[in-house]
């Protein structure tokens, strides 16, 4: 009886993980498929990766996405950190709960709503103040910043709330002015959370299809948009290759972010 339980547990676990990862594994395997038909195995080959590198449209979209993601991650990290700093400073519990809830709302808001509301805002703004003129890279970046800031704020806030408040007081007591305390004490200590937040923001922006579709304009096609539209015209093995690359990059980012946070957590405990 007891001998069998691990077996069943193991089976259930394997089944669960298979359910999660089988589609991705299939995709990766088929990206090395020599056949033009996506569903027919024609032997191992890396030709789609080569063709991908010669595909101007995809490369342009990739470059656009990377620029948007980097800019978004940077702005979101700054804004999210400021939001987190303000939040942990609210002494009153109720005020803090209210503002924390409001900052975190985009985490649970459906993307369709976020995208639609961003689009409406941009259109209204353009009519009223003439900026942003048309839609494109700028509008996508702004829309991304609004929703990734929430993620960064949550990550940084959790780190800040673990921070021993007396560190700040000790630094001030030793003669450091508040801005210096922030620069030489707080910033270095929370820097792993900032890096993790930046990576998270980058990944989220690289990933996003829905919001970008709403607020993008002619000439501003991000990578997920290219993939999505090309798949609608029939899955090309190139897309498999591209998706594989994205999976590798994104999972590396997530692992690095996780590792940074974990290492920091362990340090704090010891």
């Amino acid at each position: 009886m007891t001998g069998r339980r691990p077996f069943w547990l193991f089976t259930a676990l394997a089944f669960g993980y298979a359910f999660l990862y089988l589609p991705i594994v299939t995709l990766i395997v088929y990206s090395f498929n020599d056949s033009r038909l996506v569903t027919v195995w024609g032997g191992f080959s890396t030709r789609w990766y080569g063709e991908l590198l010669r595909n101007e449209q995809i490369l342009a979209a990739l470059w656009l996405s990377v620029r948007i993601a980097a800019m978004n991650a940077t702005f979101a990290t700054v804004l999210g950190t400021l939001a987190a700093l303000t939040l942990v400073r609210f002494a009153r519990f109720r005020t803090r709960m209210l503002f924390a809830g409001m900052v975190a709302a985009p985490l649970v808001m459906p993307e369709v709503i976020l995208g639609l509301s961003a689009l409406l805002m941009f259109v209204t703004l353009e009519q009223m103040v003439g900026w942003p003129a048309g839609r494109g890279m700028t509008t996508i970046t702004i829309a991304h910043i609004t929703f990734t800031t929430a993620f960064v704020a949550v990550v940084v806030q959790s780190r800040l709330s673990q921070l021993d408040g007396s560190l700040e007081e000790a630094a001030m007591d030793l003669g450091a002015r508040p801005w210096k305390v922030f620069l030489v004490i707080i910033l270095p200590i929370i820097s792993p959370a900032l890096i993790a937040g930046w990576l998270l923001g980058f990944t989220l922006s690289m990933d996003d299809l829905v919001i970008a579709s709403f607020v993008s304009g002619p000439g501003a096609t991000t990578l997920p948009m290219v993939i999505y539209s090309s798949v609608r015209m029939g899955v090309s093995p190139q897309v498999n290759a591209l998706a594989t690359i994205i999976v590798v990059v994104v999972s590396t980012g997530v692992v690095v972010a996780g590792w940074l946070l974990h290492r920091q957590g362990r340090r704090r405990q010891s």
Binding site: D164, E169, D173, I189
Partner: protein
Amino acid sequence: MPQPRRDPASLESWQDPDARPFLEIRGVTKVFDGATYAVDDVSLKIFRGEFFSLLGASGCGKSTLLRMLAGLERCTQGHILIEDEDITDLPPFERPVNMMFQSYALFPHMTVEQNVAFGLRQEKLSRQEIRTRVGEMLELVRMTGFARRKPDQLSGGQRQRVALARSLAKQPKLLLLDEPLGALDRKLRESTQFELVNIQERVGTTFIMVTHDQEEAMTMSTRLAVMDAGRILQVGTPSEVYEYPANRFVAEFIGAANLFDGRVASADGDRVTIQSEGAPSDIVMHHPQPLAIGTPVTVALRPEKIRLLDEPPPEDVNWIRGTVREIGYLGDVSIYHVGTEGGLTVQVQVTNRGRRTSGPLTWDDVVCLGWDADAGVVLPA
């Protein structure tokens, strides 16, 4: 507990009425959230070179008072003066005061050396000067070999030393210590107590220490203040506070005390006679101030001032009869809990060197307890 040796000359400044206090706290009050009086109208004078302790139970406002001295908390009312200069509104980074935090608050991303140098870097000192000063400080706390370590590679006692070195590095006029030994185990605590006093004598800085351990306050301080609910109940040297507690709370908080409630039956010069329901005989005590007949009072007697008697004393005052209920053998001394006929429990401490004529005491033995007229104090009830 042995007392660290002190320079007797430094002890007397507070007895000199003309002495200028180094630190003066004038009517300082701190109210949290409009209702919590964490510190309530506290006034204190502290003199140069003192090792002053704030002693009190948890939540009585010791840390809050200390934090107001450091500038980390604003005074709701009152003034703080250092050498006649009002520092009430100065921010922490402009005060000639440093603090050692209870959690040590060492910067985790800096080495021991960098931690100690942090305060010096905020002043415009040359690299060479900083290096020399850090070296001196690490030597003072015997941590020279650990200069390159990070705080998480140190033991609790080592962290405590680094925190001390860091707070002394700027040579503050006043050092505040919030339960500096609270995180150490008992054995380390006792050795560190002496070391801290020695360091204080060597650097000559005025120390104010917060503690809730009365033994620690007694051993280390030149003077101490007993606090309760935001107020100061008594200020004095450890022996003054122990021998002449000002009220019931202090008597019970500092050391153990046996309390007898009663009324003044007669007063004759500096001797008062008190009738207490707890004691069958009259209690006759020394009390220099005159007391009106009928005043309700409490007599406080320390356990080590009570003697075991074989029979009631001939004058028939200052004695009580009871049964041994509990015996605590502590090696050098024994503590007896004696249940009296009046229903009280009296603690008696007896050194284990003398022998009673009728053999060792055991449970349920009936004993007589006696004391002298100057063995305790008469407190307002």
